[in-house]
Symmetry: D2
Subunit: 364 residues, 4 copies
């Protein structure tokens, strides 16, 4: 099994960049959940390439067709499958990449794994395009979660070393999560966003690319979600977040900063707020022992710079077994971080909804 998130909710992703279609099947959705296709389309639009400085000029309509699983606008209890046709493809751009692997891409590893039978066109199944079906599944989960008072949101925490204002992990509110997503460049601090866009413009001018960090928050979670040790919230989210091709790091709450903290600093003291148990700080990121604490869940994912860059790069010809210089043509985002933001939300929403379904079994 490779492209299946397997849990109470099973999410199976298929497709290659230049195959007839990409898509997703969700198995395990309860019957009777409304799916708002307009809202889903709006969510997918946040991932689609656009006119911003940071984005490719490719057009991807990304209009999903729901093939099954819905009846009169509601989930019907059967697997929900949605596909997106691949239309705007330029195979010629990638013709020689089976022989000369692009640094930072999966061309070489796919060649070794699949013995030359991989679909190399457009990156095949490794293309960032495969995050679109992830967003379909996550977008549907987000809708269901929102109706239960659980809000998932994310923003660009940093690009090219320029930080955005982080979420307040103690006081985070649903509206804090909704607001960044209303912009195509989702940040908390517009000035930081402006500086990031200038850095991207500069990288583009240099035929180069930038990486960044995305921070995701979730509010409204009940305490008690997540199943230790292998299905804790960190494990579930990690499994889905690392399905986003460019992610190379993931941290919850204080994350790597715990390495500099003492226990007396890192521990989050409990206190009562009315009849609610809360913590004064939230270095745990809302997760203790793999289980949600009822505090906001907060994590960050590191996104590497787009490997496709316009500058000439050192590579090898696999057929000739010798070094060569590679010049990548085609259209590529100088920074995919903005478009990866909804993907991170999608991954989180799937993980959380899956844990929520599992928790229903656990209750007597």
């Amino acid at each position: 099994m490779s492209s299946i998130y397997y849990g109470r909710l099973t999410v199976s992703i298929f497709g290659q960049s230049h195959a007839p279609a990409i898509g997703v099947t969700m198995d395990g959705l309860p019957a009777g959940e409304a799916v708002d296709l307009d809202e889903l389309q709006a969510f997918l639009a946040r991932r689609a390439p656009g006119s911003g400085v940071w984005s490719t000029t490719r057009k991807e309509g990304d209009v999903p067709e729901i093939l099954s699983g819905l009846s009169e606008g509601y989930t019907c209890g059967s697997p929900l499958t949605a596909i997106i046709r691949n239309t705007n493809t330029r195979s010629g751009d990638y013709a020689n990449l089976r022989d000369i692997p692009r640094p930072g891409h999966a061309d070489y590893t796919a060649q070794k794994k699949y013995g030359g039978f991989q679909d190399a066109a457009g990156g095949g199944h490794f293309s960032g395009r495969l995050t679109a079906p992830l967003c379909i599944a996550g977008g549907i989960c987000k809708q269901i979660l929102a109706r239960q008072g659980i809000q998932v949101g994310a923003h660009i925490a940093a690009i090219g070393g320029i930080p955005d204002r982080p979420y307040d992990p103690v006081a985070l509110q649903p509206e804090d999560l909704l607001s960044p997503g209303q912009s195509r460049f989702p940040v908390n601090d517009p000035q930081a966003g402006q500086a990031m866009q200038e850095a991207i413009a500069q990288a583009r001018a240099d035929l180069d690319s930038l990486g960044g960090v995305i921070e995701c928050g979730v509010t409204g979670l009940p305490a008690g979600l997540g199943d230790p040790m292998l299905d804790g919230m960190e494990n579930r989210i990690a499994r889905l977040i690392f399905a986003i091709p460019a992610v190379k790091g993931l941290e919850f709450g204080a994350g790597f900063a715990v390495a500099h903290l003492r226990g007396s600093e890192n521990n989050d003291p409990f206190y009562m707020e009315g009849d609610q148990v809360r913590t004064r700080t939230n270095h745990a990121g809302g997760i203790l022992g793999g289980i949600t604490s009822g505090m906001p869940l907060v994590f960050r994912a590191a996104v590497k710079p787009t490997p496709s860059i316009g500058t000439p790069q050192e590579s090898v010809s696999l057929s000739r077994g010798e070094g060569t210089t590679l010049v990548i043509k085609g259209r590529h985002d100088p920074c995919i971080v903005p478009r990866a933001v909804p993907c991170v939300e999608a991954a989180a929403a799937i993980a959380i909804y899956d844990a929520l379904l599992e928790q229903k079994e656990r209750s007597r």
Copy 2:
């Protein structure tokens, strides 16, 4: 499912800190693999509490009994189950923790999840003790991998902000991985190790604790292991690493540093070394598109400071619904990072062996 790593190799962990036993079942081990019990015991000893300044004075024999799956020293194709009896327990230390949850522990979240039926003694299933069965499974995988030329090792990368010399991700050799593990305080740079131990001693004196970072490396991997998108090497390792209770962050290769790199810096150029394809740098940590590249696999995990500290802490009485002060007694490590090093190796070894088994199916 909560405590099962489910793959080609299935690893199912069970037990509570003060239950009769803890243990593990491995299903899917090929028949005919030798298991060296002395070597396994030596590996487990690296995780056991010891006499160092960083460790609790509790004694845990941690001698596993193999109940099934071996016949005359070789795996026999049936599930391998090993258990460790719990003997040295002091339940009284934890008597009131069901009412007054310890900050940074799972006491509160377990109470919410299991409605008061959780086994609270000694942290129950959430205890760090549950990493012993993980190490049994991982230790067996390590032995099998080593016979195939794949070496897994780890060292303390930092404690309390003091860094060790990192692995060289390009030139890493098997002996670099073996060496730190021969010490109970596994570091690359003994001087850094000395400074860390002094910092731990200071934290202990302050009734406090320290966190850190563990770096893990793997050499000898063939290119082609890992199954995108959900079963790539990052996804597999992440799922297992976050089973270690104190881990709050995980990064591969350059990890979060990618946020500061340009594509031209982060991309690892390919070149030929004889008939081998290699990369000049290894920011990818040996993984491209979720698949091993044949370069050393390198990742780091952030380990939070031990939440059990001797200083009084703010907490709440769940029964009375009011704030209170908690003083934790009992014996606790002021820093669990050294003992977590073999756990990280174990998690990595399971993930890699699982991917290796899966790759056998993929080959025609």
Copy 3:
């Protein structure tokens, strides 16, 4: 999870009878396997409704579209998804079935399970039409198995109590398995087939339907496939065979006849034929301890008579909570056994190929 066969090969089926499409995703296919689409189409044609006396007059083109997983005619290592569009639907036929459940159908149980949100049109996800994607997956597996010398075939063993000549479980040859499938009414004994068709014609004339038994055989299997206790060959095949809606019984080898046999009769004596170990009889159906013995694998599935019949039937109005008489209109097969024969082959082929992939891991 509901419609997923989960193993080394994962087969995920989706769609409802009157949704835009039905389809299947296969995850885990090794790269580099040729898929002959004409041969697949010919296999699907055996399942399609036709002009025979036993079949509905509905036309189902059942031309699958491969959306992903193939590249230049070979599997590329990524999930293979194929869909069939639903075109020839007459929703009006089923309008009142949400209120008045058809005896022998899933109308009532789906109503209870999904709370009225099920897609009732055409039986929704419960329709026999969902065996078409099963046949796509199984047809692809059959092709791969055949190239490895493993032949899967089936015939009508009985309809309406009229028996066909059974397979010889000891001497079964690949050509015995190929031959019945070349007819739209696959039997070993044409005279028996003629009598069956007459019985079907009579049942149709009586506005009634007939059930039957399908026998499946597999030759060329190596000894050693199947993983006890829960993933033995019987368990795997059972899980897939009972995915065919009308199947109510399954037996391997001597099956229920073992209840009349003594051990001395039922045991299959081993003997050497050259350097091959064989058994004189094959009451085990080629499976001992869940593992293939190298003898032909033989099993039989009982298929109930089509529940949709033209005669008036007693049912209830769920909305009014009172009894009523139901008259089913629409087009229905008076006997689905002939069309179920390739479905049984498909189920067997998936189970066997899955076990074959797993056995690759087991070999050192």
Copy 4:
């Protein structure tokens, strides 16, 4: 994966006949379920070898030790592991079976699968002894189900061709299911039971063995359990029933008799009984479309005659590659059907409880 039932409840069985222990881990049990160990012991006693004419004279204490998962008599939300030590073993009885496979046993297929590394002593993991852990898991599920008004029971439907009075699938009551299990030879009709025991005594005198059929019934099931297509009730039960080593056939409701029925006979008419929807007949065995209908669930399993018989048998020497005569010594049941009755109940109870847990997710 081989010995794992994988669902909402995961049941992992381990052990070999002559290994230190056999056992089971249940992952996914909700916290707070009482486990009555005396009742469990009484259930296991029904499976244990006894003093009857039909049974071996071996003594198996079969007292399980609960290693984890319980706290003060209640499930605590963590995996429940129970083991049974193997004490009464006579390895010498089986010394030459690695070379000369017993007809009807897994000796030969295990040899081929595991390349000689299998644990051959006492049948290893293939021994009927491995049904004891299945009964532990099933016995716990039975207790939980009974508290929810769901009763699982079974009786010997036939031995050596002598039939017992079958359950009435329409009028079946919980007390009908409880009664047979109070005898060590569980039948509905004591006279039939007497005749069966005489037949067994005769077979024993002839150094031979007998097979039979077990019928299982379940009352109190709500309508709506089971998840088509691959996780319907038939699929789930089948997967577990075929884990019992001697089972070679399985049928639900009318089962193979559907091959002789017309649709007008086989369809179960719906009617109202008060405000309850019921069916006049129950040929469906309480399952429509894989989902429970609320009528009693009824199925039958065919159990082959014990392959270990005292009469000399034809076999081969694998080392010499030539035919030989095998005489099996040791103690063996001349008929295992009576002892298999609780195993069938256990398998059914696991499948049903698993479906019940899953249904909780499905409800909104």
